[in-house]
């Protein structure tokens, strides 16, 4: 009896070690497939609470008085009118840019298809910085697409599932892009630095020319550059309040303060580049 228990225990341990070894040496293709499969399985765990939050917000708003709704509608109408004027100006500017591009044979700048996506889950901590949004490959989201919001850059699409996508935030350590300071054409490098517990995410700007200055009283705005790749030019990234000269004495480095709204986003805009063939 005791020996059969021992044999059973040994057999269990042996099988267990074999399975552990299998998990460690299995090819990466199999691991990726399994990871994707489990990612799709867990997608409803992110989507469901997001829908419940929207429903909760709807019911709380529908309990407001008619007077509140009328006032909100009036404020929005004013905002809409101002934005409609901006849209008309944009159309004028676009046609002017198109004329200049044709005149000087300049290749056209990137065009994007826009997808509005609700944020399903925020995973912001000192280890990694990512969001999960409620749109996936079935909605046309592509890996590497730019993600922005009203206040500027959010990040880049890192993984795309069927119904959800993972956005690597601009404060993530793996996020890096070309940028420029407002009012200056010279490119600099922006890199995410991460988040400290109880703090907010931030980044770092490097390869800044030594004549550039920034201070707390006169912070400099960091914007996306025309060579930023998937991001349109001129979107705000953050602000720089101090620049310190490197050891080489040629370039400066500084800390980039990002918007605190990044940790409270509910909706983002995904920009999927329209391929050149589709434009023709």
């Amino acid at each position: 009896m005791a020996s059969s228990h021992k044999n059973t225990a040994r057999l269990n341990i042996g099988i267990f070690i074999a399975i552990l070894a299998l998990c460690l040496v299995v090819p990466s293709g199999v691991k990726n497939f399994v990871s994707d499969m489990f990612g799709e399985f867990r997608a409803p765990f992110d989507i469901l609470p997001s829908h419940l939050r929207d429903l909760q917000k709807y019911w709380s708003l529908s309990s407001r008085s008619k007077r509140d709704l009328i006032e909100a509608g009036r404020d929005l109408a004013r905002l809409n009118a101002a934005l409609e004027l901006r849209v008309l100006e944009n159309e004028t500017l676009r046609s002017r840019i198109k004329r200049y591009e044709d005149m000087f044979s300049i290749p056209p700048t990137g065009m994007y298809k826009q997808h509005i996506a609700r944020v399903a889950r925020r995973d912001l901590n000192a280890w990694w910085q990512q969001l999960v949004i409620r749109k996936g490959s079935i909605d046309g989201i592509k890996e590497g697409s730019a993600v922005i919001y009203g206040g500027g850059v959010v990040g880049r699409i890192k993984e795309v599932g069927l119904f959800t996508s993972v956005v690597e935030l601009v404060s993530s350590r793996n996020f890096r892009m070309a940028a420029v300071f407002e009012g200056d054409d010279r490119p600099v490098i922006y890199q995410g630095v991460g988040q400290v517990s109880f703090g907010s995410g931030c980044g770092e700007v490097t390869d800044v020319y030594s004549d550039m200055t920034a201070s707390v009283s006169k912070p400099r705005k960091l914007m996306t550059s025309s060579i930023a790749g998937v991001f349109p030019e001129g979107l705000p990234i953050g602000t720089v309040s101090s620049l310190n000269l490197n050891y080489d004495g040629i370039f400066k480095t500084g800390r980039v303060d990002l918007s605190t709204n990044l940790s409270a986003l509910n909706e983002v805009l995904v920009l999927v580049p329209i391929e050149a063939e589709q434009k023709k």
Partner: protein, 179 residues
């Protein structure tokens, strides 16, 4: 005559409760994102299944939720399911000592399993990305404190929740025999 003679209802009950707990852990993590904290409490999923289920059922549950955990993080390499399976294995071996399911014993077991897994993850699985040794130390300690607090407060509840749900469904859930 029944079509499925030997279905173990306990497995499905514990699986269902684990899915609900997994969902709650995700919601808690979303809330704590506001202060940049990472809550790490996989022991809530591993300890009850390892106490109540048969050995291979418990290990399967641990591997399954290990893959689910890994799917929601930017971690690769299948190390998380391996860690979860190892934790489940150890709890299965020790479960005879916790047959009485007293609150203090369950809290101690869950907390120690959770913290051991957390330290292993920090050392071998999580990305380092050190911006300074002090920042790294503060990050590890802060997340460990948050996770410890939640584990200490709710571990007995998580284990007894499985028993309660099983009781409501007419199934008796007791600490299993050693493997």
């Amino acid at each position: 005559m029944t079509l499925f003679k030997n279905i173990d209802a306990r497995f499905f009950i514990v699986f269902g409760v684990n899915c609900a707990l997994f969902f709650l852990i995700g919601v808690m993590g979303d809330i704590l994102s506001g202060i940049g904290a990472y809550i790490y409490i996989p022991a809530f999923l591993i300890v009850p299944s390892s106490l109540f289920l048969k050995f291979w059922q418990a290990v399967f549950m641990a591997v399954f939720f290990g893959f689910l955990f890994e799917a929601q993080t930017p971690l690769d390499g299948a190390l998380t399911p391996v860690l979860f399976a190892a934790a489940s294995f150890i709890v299965c071996k020790l479960r005879a000592k916790f047959r009485s399911l007293d609150s203090f014993g369950i809290t101690w077991l869950t907390w120690s399993v959770n913290m051991s897994m957390y330290l292993f993850s920090v050392l071998f699985i999580f990305p380092i990305g050190i911006s300074g040794a002090w920042a790294y130390f503060f990050r590890v300690v802060f997340d460990a404190l948050i996770s410890s607090l939640v584990a200490a407060l709710f571990s007995a509840y998580a284990v007894n929740l499985n028993k309660a749900v099983a009781y409501l469904l007419g199934v008796s859930l007791n600490v299993g025999e050693d493997a």
